[in-house]
Symmetry: C2
Subunit: 150 residues, 2 copies
DNA sequence: CACTAGACAGGAATGATTCCTACATAGCAT
DNA sequence: ATGCTATGTAGGAATCATTCCTGTCTAGTG
């Protein structure tokens, strides 16, 4: 979702995050997409408007925003870290073909619990569910490949 | 669970994995623990009995065993890869304090489904649930710390 | 027992992320 | 507005898990 500059600044103030051009640009870029970009993706995007932007600043800023609760880190398998400007509780659907990650908002999933027998004394604070499968496009491509193979 | 050499060899044959001392040692080490070791952990463990073992072989072997379906890779957050000799469908409980990972076997969790509206055309093949919290020991330690602070 | 595809060791290379440091600036107090 | 100081930034070096490369070595086959 595209955010106005004043909205970004308000959120930063609300979360006690110092307002800088770089941070606003990074957060804006992340908020505008639903594609869960990597730090490198964000670096390339913001670099277009801020040619002096350093990779370091992107990593540092993502760390700051994460600690402030404005950004979530999403990790799928052992691939590079991805980031999500959607900090509401939600889960993910991952395509095994193209790697795309789609948000899943589902109250049922948010309410999952674990039996106390299984919890083994843990004090459980939250959970994360990750579904794996093939997106419509990759299913299509797969069928095509099978057809070509005969 | 400790496996006899013949049992390891039988599994390798069943999964068309070439039998070598190194592979047997790595798989044995992984099967004996429930602690989800990293490649480095396994390397250090097997190196005791096989001083010539190279790190490379550990990574290569884990890759082979994973593809053969004898080993599962478990990733928590963006930390180093961890491995699990338990290839039955199960989920994990992660301690935010000490990082330990505990297996959770729960039929209810195995049967989670996603509404077709949310699935957005995906063909879903599986899912993974990760619970986060604090283990009994870390809760204990946390209370201690709070008490000391007054 | 010989052959060969595949495995092994060890070192080099890669690449995401973090560390270091000198310079710049946001936000506060004057 | 102006200056002060804690914090942020750029850019390059360093780290470290993992992968790649290459020259032996060996499991499994006939």
């Amino acid at each position: 979702m595209k955010l106005e500059p004043w909205e970004i600044e308000a959120r930063f103030r609300r979360h006690a995050v110092r307002i800088t051009r770089q941070r606003a640009a990074i957060y804006a870029a992340l908020s505008e997409t639903t594609s869960h970009p990597t730090a490198e993706d964000l670096y390339r995007t913001v670099k277009r408007q801020h040619p002096m932007m350093s990779r370091n600043t992107v990593y540092y800023t993502l760390g700051v925003l994460r600690q402030a609760g404005l950004v979530q880190e999403v990790n799928v398998g052992h691939e590079v870290a991805r980031f999500d400007g959607n900090v509401t509780v939600h889960h993910h659907l991952v395509c095994l073909g193209c790697g795309q990650i789609v948000d899943v908002m589902d109250d049922g999933l948010n309410q999952l619990a674990i039996s106390s027998r299984q919890a083994r004394g843990f004090h459980v604070l939250g959970h994360r569910v990750e579904f794996h499968g093939y997106c419509a496009d990759c299913q299509q491509a797969g069928l095509g490949a099978m057809a070509r193979r005969g």
